[in-house]
Structure formats: C-alpha cells, structure tokens
C-alpha cells in the first residue's frame, strides 16, 4: 500500500497536522457522512420527542415507528418542483442556501472528536469556528433579500438584528474560556480546539466547573447565545411561523428549502460541539485523571458497545410489543432488522473493546478513537435534546426583547465574568 496511506496510521497528529491530504480527505468524507446521518437521525428524534412532549405519537406510518419518515421526506423534497419566484434575484436566491450550508459544514474541519480525530488542528481553531459559524447568518439575510418579498425581508432583518445582539456576548464568553486555558502553571494559553481540551485535562477540571460559578456563568451565556445563533426556539423569530409564515425561507421550496434545514441542524450540532469542547471536556470521558487504571480504561471502552446494545434492546422490545395484526407484519420485520443492525454494531464495538485491551497497535488506537468519539457525541446529544426541550416548552421571544437581553443582560455579565476570571486566575 502506498506510503502516504500507511505512514499516517501510527501518527498521533491530526491528518492536517501531519500534512496527509489523503487521510484528511477520508476524515472530511467521514464527517460529512456522519453529520448527514446525524441530521437525519435528529430529524426523526426531534419529531418523536416533540410529539411525546405533546401527547402525540409523531410519525408512525412510514417504516416502524416512522423510522423511514426522514428518508421519505428527503425523497419528496428532492423530487419537488424547483421554484424560483420570477421577481427574485435569481443568482443570489440560488446561492443563499449554499452559503448557510457551507458555513455550517466548514466548521466541522476543526472540531476535535478526539486528540487526533479531527481534520485539522488549527492554532486559531476557536476563532475560525466563531467566524465561520457566524457566516451562516449571511445565508439567511441574503435569502430574505433575494426573495424580494415582504415576509422573508422582515425575517432576514430580524436575523441580522439578532446576530448583532448575541454575537458579542457569545464571543466574550468564549474568551473567558480561553483565558482559563492559560491560568495554570501547566497551561499556556491556546486557541486551538485540541489544546483547549488538553488544557482541561491538565488542569483536571472541565471549564464549566472551573472557578465555580464563573465557568458556569460563561457556559450559560454561551448556551443561550448558541440557541440564538442557530435560530432555534425560543429565538426562532427569523422564521417565526405564526408571525412571518416561514420567515426568510417563505419563498423557498423543495431541495433548496431542505438545504436550509440541513444547514440549521448541522449548525446546531456545530455550536453544541463548540460548547462541549470549551466547557465540557470535549472528547474526555468522565474523570480521565482519577480513573485511569487499565481496568477503568477497559470498563469505559465497553460503553459504546453497551449503548448500542441498549438501543438494540429497546428496538427489540418495540418489535415484541408491536400489535399482532397482519397489517403490522412488515413493520415488525423491519423493526427486527433494525434491532439486529443495532445489535451487530454493538457486537462489533464490544469485540473491538475486548480486542483493544490486549493489543497495543492499531486496534487499541482504533478502540481509543471510538471511545473519544463516543463521549463527544454523547455530550453533544445532550445539547441536541435540550434544543428539542426548549422548543417544546417556551414561547418565542420578540426580537427587540432578545436585543435587550443581549445588550443589557448578557453582555455586562459576560464582560464581568471575563474580568473576574482573569483576576481570579492571576491571584490563584
């Protein structure tokens, strides 16, 4: 096998860091596929969870428990007629969804799923992330403007008003986390995403608990701002359905509309990843410093397999509980196959975990990688669940109220937290 494929396998650097374009490309493809699958899964989970919050069943017809519903929707959207209003600015209208999508996906190049499980470890990683993820707003503004229609225009203007109000507080909250990386004898300040997680490991504390409650407040500010950044409830005034019919994407339909949705969900995952990386220890499993004996390593490496085994068990219970009429026969078979698939993944992961225990080469490395990605994804999925929970619980803010909160509440608090963090860090 060519040298450029094999030479990277022993490396502890990211493909970008090692200068290996081949593996960088592989990682990009893996991430692109993974995020797309995550968006599809999120689509299903959101509809199901939201339905259960609201005493409904959610999708139940397409596939067992509606499992194939996202695919059916995607197919429908792809086959729909592609309408561009004659009054619209054709080119800008065409390019707007792509801006949002590009911004959402580009962020993933620096997200560290593990110490070497990232496309690249940029030394200005967090700056890059904030900059690129903010570009998503440009897609919305441009879409609203290009539609040449009133409701999208108002939606776009709201979106820009929204951006100026949360972005500053968000940036300051991030800075206070970055300040924390340098406030320790072992740490030298860093903007690198991997460096930030490693700083948390060296200091032996997730930044959310550092200088309690300072880290917690900064995290809270970011957690609020990131909901505003992704245009999700309760800050979804750019697309406020009951006010602006659909806001900035009123004139969009079919595939272009689905690109907006894809961008929204990808952006949700991206900002959740930032929060996890900065405050929740990124890829680290709980207590990596305390529980670091080989036995603990083994126990924690069983978690991914056990999680999938649990999911398989849930699917199996669903299969058993399915009504016995012949109408449900195909659904039952489908759900059984799905359970089998999950079980197979569980088995594979468990085999890798057991094999990785006695191996010190590539299998062990692979095993470690699975563990990193697992804990990272688990933490991110907590945020994704929160997004759904917010949407089910809260009414929508008015955009002037969001601006008031952004400028009059969040900005002073985050500024104060930053100053106090710096002072406290110097003293202790």
């Amino acid at each position: 096998m060519p040298n450029f494929i094999m030479s990277y396998l022993g490396s502890t650097l990211t493909p970008g860091g090692a200068g290996n374009q081949f593996w960088a490309l592989i990682y990009v493809l893996i991430i692109f596929a993974g995020v797309s699958v995550a968006v599809i899964a999120m689509n299903w989970i959101e509809r199901k969870a939201l339905a259960h919050f609201q005493i409904r069943l959610g999708p139940m017809r397409v596939g067992p428990h509606g499992l194939l519903q996202p695919f059916a929707d995607a197919l429908k959207l792809m086959l729909k007629e592609d309408i561009i209003p004659s009054e619209a600015d054709q080119f800008v209208f065409w390019v707007a969804p792509l801006i949002g999508l590009l911004a959402a996906f580009t962020v993933y190049t620096v997200i560290p799923f593990g110490p070497s499980q990232a496309v690249s470890d940029m030394n200005i990683g967090i700056l890059f992330m904030l900059g690129v993820s903010s570009l998503g707003v440009l897609g919305i503004v441009v879409a609203g403007w290009a539609s040449n229609s009133h409701y999208p225009l108002i939606g776009a203007l709201r979106s820009s008003a929204q951006m100026v109000s949360y972005e500053v507080a968000m940036g300051l909250a991030v800075v206070s986390a970055i300040v924390m990386t340098s406030l320790n004898t072992s740490g030298t300040g860093t903007l690198s995403m991997i460096g930030i997680v490693q700083a948390q490991q060296q200091q032996g504390v997730w930044f959310i608990f550092k200088f309690f409650p300072l880290g917690f407040i900064a995290f809270g500010i970011f957690a609020i701002a990131m909901v505003a950044e992704t245009n999700r409830a309760p800050f979804d005034m750019a697309e406020a359905e009951s006010e602006l019919t659909a806001g900035y994407h009123t004139e969009y339909s079919g595939l272009r509309w689905s690109l907006f949705m894809l961008a929204e969900y990808a952006a949700m995952i991206a900002v959740s990843s930032i929060a996890v990386t900065l405050w929740l220890g990124g890829w680290m499993r709980p207590f990596p410093n305390l529980l670091h004996a080989p036995a603990w390593d083994f126990i924690f490496s069983l978690f991914p397999g056990l999680t999938f085994a649990g999911l398989a068990a849930i699917a199996l219970i669903g299969t058993v509980r399915m009504p016995s009429q012949s109408f449900f026969k195909i659904q039952r078979i489908g759900l059984a196959i799905f359970a089998g698939l999950l079980g197979l993944i569980a088995l594979l992961l468990l085999v890798v975990a057991v094999a990785g225990r006695s191996d010190s080469g590539i299998v062990a490395r692979f095993n470690d990688g699975i563990g990193y990605v697992y804990w990272f994804v688990l933490k991110v999925s907590v945020f994704m669940y929160l997004f759904i929970w917010y949407r089910a619980t809260w009414p929508r803010y008015r955009f002037d109220q969001l601006m008031k909160i952004g400028w009059k509440v969040m900005l002073p608090i985050s500024l104060g937290v930053l100053v106090v963090t710096a002072i406290v860090g110097v003293i202790f």
Binding site: I55, H150, S242, L244, T245, T393, P395, R396, F399, D400
Partner: protein, 384 residues
C-alpha cells in the same frame, strides 16, 4: 390593493411615530391565508421597519349571509344556522337565539331546561377558552399548550356528542327548552369532567403563567383602557381585563344564572397578560357554576308551552347573553308571520375586532399576532 394602500398612506400619523425621515412605509398583507389570523382575517399592516403604524382589517371572506337567510326561514328552521356563527361556542349562540325568541313569544323554559342550558353553555365556555388558550399560546410560539388544551377539550365534546349527537355545531336547545332529556349518566360524566379538568387548568398555568418569556410577550402588550374599551363597545373578557366589572350573567341574569354563586374576574391593566389571567379564572368559575348546577338540577319537564307553529306577535326584541367572547345579542323584528322580518346579530368578535387598531399601534409585528390571539375572534362570527 392600491386604493387601500392610498387610504392607508393618508392616515394621520403622529410625528413621534416616525423614526426615519425619508424611508418609506412597508405595507404588507397579513392573511387571509396566514397561520395566525384564526381563519380568514386579512389585516393590512402599515409598518415602519417592524413597528406598526396602522392597521386595516378586511373581513367578509367567510360571509354567508346568515342574517338574510333568517328572513326566509321559520323561527325553528333558523335555529341550527346560529351554530355556524361562532362554531367553537355553538351552544352559546343557540342559547342566545332561543332565549330571544322565547322572550318574543313570552314563554319561559322550565327550570330543568334552564339548568341543562347553563351546564352545557358553561362547558362550552370552557371549551372555547381552551381553544383560545391553545391557539393564542401557539401564536406566541409555545407549541405544547395547544395539544394539552385540545386533549382536554375533547372530553367536553364527548359530553356534547353523547347529549345531542353533534360535537361542534350542537343545535342543543330548542325554542322553549331542550329537545333532549339528559342521557343516563350525564351528571356523572359532568362531575367526572370537573374533577378531570381542574388539575389540567393548573397544568396550563404551570406552562405559562409565570413563564418569563410569556410574561415579556404579554405584559403591556395591546393595552386598552377601560374608557376606550367602553367607547368601542368591546365586551367580554377583553372589557373585564381593562377593569370594568361587566358580565351579563350578573348584570342581567338570564337562564338560571341568578341561582348560582360565582365571581366575575377583572384585570387591572387591560393588557394581554390580564386578559389571559381573566380567561383562566373564568374557566375555574365556570367549573364552580357547573358544579352548583349539576348538584341542584331540578326534576321536571324540559319543554315549555310552545305552539307547534311559532308565530310571535308583531314587535321587536333585543336579547343578549354573555358568550365566551363577549356580549352576543340578537335583535329580532317580527311581523307576526312564521318567519322573522329581520334578525340582526351583535357578535362579540366583530365588535371586539374593532379594538385591534388602537391596541397594536406603535407595537411590533409579533405583537399584532399576540393581540389578534388575545381578542379571541372567530371569523365565522365576524363575517356571519
């Protein structure tokens, strides 16, 4: 559209409302197809950015000529038509019409019929308020209350269905009383409902009453003073939230309302939040009324002495009741024939909708939605 736009641009705009010297106002159509206009209301908004400078309501998309139809129907035949006006509170509409004709005929429904009427009307008031709460919360962005209220409203509709076979357009009452005796287990069903729904109302309040976002979105939004409300003829919870204690159930008791002990909730500020609170308390008060009525329901006939062919004497009558949305009045002119010479309905939604403009001036687009929701209009009733 253009002439309407011209009319709007001639509106006298106070100078302080203007924020930009040379920018143009944006005129947008909200509706008739819009998720939050509760049917087919069309509101033309004149905006400065998002600030509302003026509104104009265009109604009539649901006009069916109910009042004209009445002139070609006998009094009995017209009875089901009134259910189609405020279709979410059809029982109240029927009660108003039946009582008006009874007044014209100078007959009175027997006591038992009156009690049944009160029970069903108050159940309908709760159903109407539940529907209002769900859609109002949905307009403001809270999705979940809608499903909770619809779940609980279902229980009321089940009782209606068992009583008269219909769920929405019930046609529950007849001129002179009720056509149907209560079904076996009616009292039990109603009592079960009372114990079922009381904690559910607490549940809605848990979601909204102290919710920070709900407070920010509704406090000081769409304020209407008591004087303005009276001048515009606004009635119902909207009037009471402005601090006017005016409820026809107390002011001029009809049916059997004088027998029951209940409170009239009033608000102080006349804003959207007060109207929300007033309606929430009204639901609980309705539960009290139903409880008293179902416990004290007398035995006896359910139909008064009404001739087979209803031929009221020559004359005219105005009778109004407190519908869930406000004062619902029927003005009936009789020429002594079997058909009314003229029926004019005073629908609460139509009159309350007039307050929209002064309530939303100077607010934002998002508040227009909140105010339309809080006025609790039903377009079937506005357009008739």
């Amino acid at each position: 559209m253009n002439d309407r736009a011209d009319q709007l641009s001639n509106l006298d705009l106070d100078a302080p409302d203007k924020t930009y010297l040379d920018s143009n106002e944006l005129i947008i159509n909200m509706g008739p197809q819009h998720p939050a206009t509760h049917g087919v209301l069309r509101v033309i908004l004149k905006l400065d950015g998002e600030k509302v400078l003026g509104t104009e309501c265009v109604i009539g998309y649901l006009h069916r000529g109910v009042e004209k139809i009445a002139e070609n129907r006998t009094y009995t035949m017209f009875n089901p038509y009134v259910d189609r006006m405020d279709y979410v509170a059809a029982v109240s509409n029927g009660l108003g019409y039946c009582e008006a004709v009874e007044k014209l005929l100078n007959v009175e429904a027997p006591a038992r019929a009156k009690y049944i009427r009160v029970i069903l009307t108050e159940l309908n008031r709760i159903a109407s308020h539940q529907l209002w709460l769900g859609t109002h919360a949905l307009d403001i962005g809270a999705m979940t209350p809608l499903f909770y209220t619809f779940r609980d409203r279902e229980e009321i509709l089940k009782i209606f269905e068992k009583y008269c076979g219909a769920r929405l357009t019930t046609h529950a009452f007849r001129i002179g009383g009720c056509q149907y005796e209560t079904y076996a287990g009616f009292e039990k069903d109603v009592k079960n409902f009372l114990t079922f729904v009381a904690p559910k109302i607490d549940e809605y309040e848990t979601l909204l009453t102290t919710n920070r976002i709900w407070l920010e979105r509704t406090k000081n939004v769409g304020v209407i003073s008591a004087a303005d409300a009276i001048a515009l003829g606004v009635t119902g919870p909207v009037l009471r939230a402005s601090g006017v204690k005016w409820d026809l159930r107390k002011a001029q008791p009809y049916a059997a309302y004088s027998d029951f002990d209940f409170d009239i909730p009033i608000g102080e500020n006349g804003d959207t939040y007060d109207r929300y609170l007033v309606r929430m308390v009204e639901m609980r008060q309705s539960l009290l009324i139903i409880e008293q009525a179902v416990n004290g329901i007398p035995e006896g006939p359910i139909m008064g002495k009404v001739p087979k062919v209803i031929k009221p004497p020559v004359g005219e009558i105005y009778h109004s009741i407190e519908a869930p949305k406000g004062e619902l009045g029927y003005f009936i002119v009789s020429d002594g024939s079997t058909q009314p010479y003229r029926i004019r309905v005073r629908p609460p939604s139509f009159v309350n909708l007039q307050a929209l403009d002064i309530m939303v001036r100077g607010l934002l687009v998002a508040d227009v939605i909140a105010v339309i929701g809080t006025l609790d209009i039903v377009l079937g009733e506005v357009d008739r």
